[in-house]
Structure formats: C-alpha cells, structure tokens
Chain length 199, copies 6
C-alpha cells in the first residue's frame, strides 16, 4: 500500500498489500475501488488480520445495515460528535466527510465537531446525540429516563441500542486511533464540501 | 436460556437458545460446557447475531490469542481496572472473577477495582495499567513518551498495541453493558475466592 | 500486634499492643475478641492515641448508635459507595464485608463499589445514596431540595444529618487511609460471601 | 445561646445553652470567654453531644497539640486552602480569621482562599499545601514521592501525617458544614485585619 | 509609579508614569485621585498602551454605564463570583472591595468568593450569578432556557447580554492577571470592611 | 446589513447598517470590502457601539500588530485551539479559515480544532499552544516554569504576554459568542481549503 501522504499514518509499520491475507486484501481493494483511495484505518489495522476482520464486521453490522430508525447520515453524525469528545483526529475528519456526503450538508460536520448543541439539526437528532454523548462520557448514569426521552422523539428501543452501540464502537475506535497515532487521509478534509460539478 | 437470577439481565429481551443461529448457539453451549453457566454477555448480545459474532471475534483476537508479552491474567487485570473507571458492573465483576482464577490471587481483583495504584502488582504491571488507564481516560494525550515508559518495563510496541486495544475494546463493552443494563451472573462474585477443595 | 499479612499495613510504624495506653489496648482486644482478628485501622491509628480515641468515638456515635431511620446495613452502604468514589481500598473492602454481613446479601457490596446506581437497592436507599454521594463529591451545592427529596422517601431531617455525617466522616477516613497507605486485612475479602455452614 | 446574627446559623435547630450536658456547656463557655463570642460550629454541633465531643477531641488532637514541625498558623493555612477547594463558607471565613491572628499577616487568608499557589508563603509552606491539597482532592494518588517532596523541605513523616490528617479532618468538617448550612459568625470577617490599637 | 508593596506587582516590568502616553497617564492620575492609590491593573497594563486603552474602554462600557437592570454592586458581584471560579487573586480581592463599597455590605464579597450559592443574596441575584457562572464555566451549553430563567426573575434579554459580557470580560481579565502574575494592592483587602468613621 | 444565511446569526436583533454610528459603519464597510462579506461578529456586536469599538480595538492590538515573535498564522492557531476547548462555533470556524489562509495549509485548522497535540506543527508551535491552552483552561496554575519552557523554544517574555492575551481575549470572545448565539458565516467553512485557481 502506498501511503497517500509523506507523514506516517501510524506509529506502527503498515503492511504491503501483497502480504495480506486474501480476504483482507479484497476488502481493501473494494473500498479503494469505491472511494478512490484507501482510508488509512484499513491500512493501519491490516497488520492484525483477526482484529481487522472483527473491527469491520462490527462496523458493518452497525453502520451499513439496512432498516432501523437511523439514517446512514445520522449514524455518522453520532460518530462525529462523540469522536470530537474523545479528541480523535481520524474519526472526526474521516466521518465528518461522510456526514457531508450522506447529508448533502457541507457545514454540518464542522458544527457537530465543535459543539453539537448549536448544530443545524432537528430536535430529534439533538435527542439522539444527547443520548450518544451520555453513552460516550457518562454511561454509568444511563437509566430508563434516557430511553423515555428517545421514545418522545420517535426512537424505538432498538434505535436506542443502535445509538449506544455506535457511540461505544467508535469510543473503541477513537481510543485505538489515538493510541496508534492513526492519521486521516488528506482526501477526507475536502470531501463533500464542494458541489461535484465544481471539482 | 434460563436466566440464573430472578432479576432481569438486560433491559432488552433475551432470546431463547433454540431461536438462535447455529453458530451463535454452538458458541453459547461451548462456554456453558466450560464455565458451568452461560455468562450473561452471551445471552444479552445473542439477539443481534452479527454484533455477537463480531464482538466475540474481537474479544478472542485480543484475550485468547497465544504469544505476546501479556499473560492472560494481566489482560484481565487491564479489563478490571479500566472497567472500574467506566463504572461497569458487568465487566468489573465478571472479569474480576477471571483475574482471581488466572492469577490464583483471590484479593487482586477487588484491589484493582478500587484503586489499581495500591494493588499487589509488580512495577511492570503498574506501567501496563497506567498506559491502559490513559487509553481509557485521556487517549488524546498519548504520545511517544508513553510507549517509552512501556519499553523501560520490557514491553514491546506490540504489547503496547495489545494493552491499548484491550482497554479500548472493553471501553466499548463497558458502554454497551451500561446502556443495555447488563447484569453480571451471580456465579461470578464468588468465583476464585475460595480454594477449590473447600467448595 | 502481629500483622496478619506479610505486606506492610501502613507506611508508618505499627505499635506493639503492649506499648499502648490501657484504654486503646482494651478497645483493640475487644474488637479482636468479637471479629476474630484486629482490623488494621485499629492497629494503624493506635500510634496516635488521642486521634485513635476521637476517631472511634466519632465512628461509634454515627455507626453504632441505636435509633434513627437508617439500619446498620444502610449506614455501611453509605460507607462503601462514598469510599469507592474516594478510591479507598481499606474502606471499600472492610466495610464491604460489613454490608454483606449486616444485609445478608453477598452481592451488594461489589455492586455498590462499582456503580451504586445499578445496585440491588430500594428507591429509598437510592435516594439515601444520592444524598451521600452529593455530600462526598459536591457538598457546596447541597440545598433545601436535597432534604426535600429525602423526605419524599420517608427520611427525617435527622436522618439527613446522619447520612451527611457518615459520608463526611468516611470522607475523612478515606483520605487518612489513602495518605498513610492503610491496607485492609485479608480476612475482609471473603467475609459474608459464603454461608456459614459451608465454611 | 443567642445567635449573633439574625440569619439562621444552621438549617437544624440550635439548642439552648442550659439544655446541654455539663461538659459541652463548659467547653462552649470556655471558648466564649476566650474569643468573646461563641463560634457557630460549637452551637450547631452541640445538639449531638457525642458527635460534638468527638469532633472537638479530634480537632484538638490535630490543631492544639504542641510540638511537631507545623506552627499553629501553618495548620490553619492548611484549613483555609483545602476548605476553599471544598467550597465551605464556615471554614474559609472562621479559619481565615485564625490565619490572620496566628500569622499576624492580614492579607494571607484571602490569598490562600483564592489561589494558594500565588500566596505570600515560603517554598516549604507551598510544599505543605501541595500535599494537603492532594489529600483533599486526589488522595488515591498519594504515594512515596509525595512524602519525599515533603522531606526535601524539612518535613518529617510525622509532619506528613499531621498535614494529611488536618486536610482530612477539615474535609469532613467542610462537608458537614455545607450539608447542615452552617453560617460563620459575623465577627470572623474582620478579625485580624486591623491592628489591635486601631480598634 | 511607585509600587505600593515591596512585592513585585507583575512578572513584567512596570513603566514609569512619566514615560506613558498622555491619555494613559491622565487615566491613571484620575483613578489615583479618586481612589487614593493606583490599582495595580492600571500600572501593569500601561506598558502596552493600545491594550490598556481597549481594556479600560471595554471595562467602562460594561461596568460604568448608566441604565440597565443591574446595579453597579451587582455587576461587581458577578466579577467576584466568576473570578473566584477562575482562581484570580487580583480580581477577587480588588472587586471584592468594590462589592463591599457599592453594596455597603462588608460580608458579601467573602461569601461570594467562597460559594456564591450560600451568600446573602436575593433569588434574583442568585439567578444572575447562576447565569454568569454558566458563561464562565460551560458557555457552550447556554441555551434559551437560561434566558427564560433570567426573565422569570425580571431580567431583560439586554441584562442577559450584560451579565454574559461581564462574566466574559473578567474571564479575560482573570486569565491575563494570572498569566502575568498581577498582584492586588494591599489597600483593597480592608476597603469597605470597617465603617468610615472608625478608620 | 443583509444576513448571509436564512438562519439567525444571533439571538439578539441585528442592527441595520444605516442605523450605525459612522465609525462603526466604516469599519464594517472596510472589512466587507476586503473579505467580500461581513463576518457576523461585526454585525452582531454593532448593536452595542462602545463594546464594538473596544472589542475590535483590543482585537487589532493583539492580532494585527506588526513585530513580535508570533506570525499572524500562529496567532490564529492559538485562537482555533483554545476556541475548540471552549466549544465555540463562531471562533473555530471563522478563525479556522484564517489559519488556512495565512498558513496556506488547508488541513491544519481541522487538526487544531480536534486535538492540537496531533496537528502538523513544529515543536515551537506545540510549546506555544501548550501555554495558550494552560491560559485557557488552568490559568491559576501558570508559573515561572511555563515561561521557561517558552524561552527554550525561542519565545521572549513579550511573546508570552502575546500568547496569554490572545488566549484570554478569545476566551472572552468565545463566551460572548456562545451566550448570544453567534453563528459563523457560511463563507468561512470553505475558505482556504481549495486553491484559488480552482474556484
């Protein structure tokens, strides 16, 4: 794999694509095909194939699945807001790009990353993020009143599980990214900011 | 699955064993065979088979793998200390049992859960836990000096990855357990406290 | 006094029983008679007889007195929950034993030490512990609404004084124990966990 | 006892002097004789004679005793700095008066109450207060290095015990005063600010 | 300018009065005329005339202006409470003097500096200070409910702007004073404590 | 003034340009001429002309002045890092644009806003930001060692004054912007991200 920046993308060595197990390589080639580049999280985690497989299986179960009360953009909004609370470069910048792309809203990610309470979101999304932030920062205090507030905004308890699991999964991802020094690809910074035809 | 306590083990419904996909059921039967009971985390997560599979695949990649500079008991020590910082009943009590069993040290888990700085551990284990707690609580501040301190105590950088990933994975587990109201099995509380022949 | 562990029970020297003033020695012999061992707090504080006397006089005024709306077990519950918030080995482990013994509830102490909000307690006990934790952690914010909430759960204002004083007294005890490196006796860890007839 | 202010000095009833046990009344009359008024802590705690006796016995053992490396003024400095951290009106204002009187330094108490790091104190006193503040705020982190730093400044380990016990005792006192709404006497505010001959 | 204390009033050099630009010198002479001494903030900031001018222009716009729902004493109460939260010697002590002078209440400043929740203030002033403290400590959480609470106590939204701006301006002042080591004049400590005729 | 967004730019009314005092209007027209739009901070503060004048006079004294050891881009880096710590939309987004423009570095502002410790900056800039963040978050702990560390990186004490004053001034600005609900102009989000010729 060629690093797309002269700066190291991790404090750990990054494996060559041809050295990887077939399934890991296939997953990386597929994402490269779709995105036009390899997001660094794939390159950095690939050195531990079992962890790579479990990480992306969990990711897909939460973020890619169809159905449920959360749009793909809303799931990414959870990621951006909680990752900012966890001081994680990689997730704020990479998933900020996804918020812009899915929501077709070029300003939203930067708002969420700074202060989700002042972002251009609906009251329902505010309730979703309040719950997610409580999971991220004070999960030991969650109780029935938190689920009740979600229900007032039309979320089912299954949605509550989804919100909590996304906040928890990216809480893990943030800590790993911070500990191994994972750098976001330069491509993410501009993605979704400029209308397609202008690029 | 029969709940081993009259108290609910989660605020979400727990599926019947016979309703589960074959691989999930097989995993549960295997752990029941080995432990003598089904730890509630298996019963609670089974309702979401994809998440169940990813969760335990990640768990096994970090906690069960052979090799590396961390003993199984030391990995469980990381879980107990960080889970206490995250106020998680399930993980402190269930993994406290594993610390007692693996380390054959009946006092250690309670010490780690209250204040790991005063526990009966080696300076090397103290360095391991300092690193793990920084991942759990202030991962955005981790830098090269943290890895240097690990190396002074004989840990490789791969061990650093392991410590960080265990702290991060259980940071996720703690948040999910807190959010879904996961209750530890009564069996865990006494496990490893009394010599086998006395029971 | 013979230390009941090869580990030092304090960073300060522990006096010999025969060197102690008569009243201090008598108190220690009495507790040894009753408990079967000398809890280390007696051994550690005995080197300062005046402080020893005042400490245990205050302790007895709050914890041993008859009457009032708090059972002995509830008073110990306050000690465990607040001592966990103060990271104190000695008090969590020694008074956790007393919670188990008084309440005849082998699981409760570990629950309270990790997250009292999720423990198997009544709403009234939850209100009692919320008040105690506010005294322990944010006493400057206590106002009339806190007493009103106690009254809703049937506590008198005198009970409020008791709860506050217990939280405050053990806040002192926690800080002294932490500062002098007081180690809990090994005996406490198992006490109250196993039914008498099985031992 | 006549309250020296139209504002209540506690949310609890204050007993009449003639209703008190002989020893409690004698103690109160003695302090009134010496100070010219009854500090409210005596009036407020008197309703619980056993607690009153233990409280003042402990107080005297730490604050009045002769010998040791801490002057009376330095002991009061510990009280003011830690009580400010605990947001306690009574102790900051009453013991601030004692700092001014013992140290014959009219500015020091207000400095300590706001930010002890910038107060007009010696490096040795700064080390004393750093230790006391760690006892007050993060006692679970105290270790051998804290005692070593005290020794660098000429404090013995016995002095360390004294500093820790004073910070811990007033940590209790602060919490009780905050919980029962104890009001400092108006007399304390001006005490020690104006040279005697000018009054 | 002669420093009115043998202790340095700043870690930066203090300019001579005769070296200052005419307008800066005139302002300093005017305050000296009125107060009887030069408050150190004038002496310390004078070395940067442009910053001096902007600082006092802002100060005057907020603190000296006529009209609005806040008395001069109430504005100073905001300064004392928020400056205490910011650990600033200069502002707590200098503006504490102004609270005493404007409010003719010798006890109030010390109460506000320790714990404004327990101070002798009206419910309306309590609401004012709650708003100011939220601006000082958690401004990102301010929303419409905070203004609604002000209105319940008779404050207009313009008063809200005033309260917020005073808390924000002195938040700046506190940080500058702390960073440059600004020392309050000795004169402030006693000001307003003793009735005029007694001095 | 026409608002450049359908969303309100403040919870307070925004004055019409023609209603403003001549000097305020002139300043606004000048910035509009230069930037191509009126940054909302000008529009929002204009309703209080005296505060407007003082605010921008202070701003210019710190941010526009020539000389000193800080480049214009470095001053804006301080604003972005500290404003992120204060959860301020307006300042992170508006001054993030200026960091990109002055530093000709399209990635830097987003990095600083998330976690300045991991940003692409020099060790000297890291020391500058460590000092600025201490001013923003714990100014009461600043002492001589902080200035010594600045000097190790080639900063003069005058530079220290500049860094502290910028962090303090924008600490004020952040709190005002948060309290009055100031919204950043949409134009800022994209500024400096795309090379000029591509737009």
């Amino acid at each position: 794999m060629t690093q797309n920046s002269p700066k190291p993308i991790s404090r750990f060595p990054v494996p060559k694509l041809e050295e990887l197990p077939e399934d890991v390589r296939a997953r990386i080639l597929a994402v490269q095909e779709k995105a036009g580049f390899v997001p660094n999280v794939f390159a950095v985690l690939a050195r531990r194939p079992d962890e790579f497989r479990a990480f992306f299986a969990y990711h897909d179960a939460l973020m890619v699945k169809e159905g449920g009360g959360l749009s793909k953009g809303e799931r990414e909004m959870i990621v951006v807001a909680t990752s900012a609370a966890n001081d994680c470069h990689y997730c704020v910048i990479a998933h900020g790009a996804l918020v812009r792309v899915y929501e077709k809203q070029p300003l939203l990610a930067d708002q969420l990353a700074t202060n989700y309470r002042k972002a251009d979101i609906t009251p329902r999304q505010r309730a979703m993020l309040d719950f997610a932030m409580k999971v991220a920062l004070r999960s030991g205090e969650i109780d029935e009143t938190d689920y009740a507030r979600l229900r007032e905004h039309g979320f089912s308890d299954e949605d509550g599980w989804d919100i909590a699991s996304i906040a928890a999964f990216f809480g893990m991802s943030n800590r790993i990214a911070n500990a191994v020094g994972m750098r976001p690809n330069d491509e993410f910074y501009l993605m979704g900011r400029v209308p397609r035809e202008r690029r």
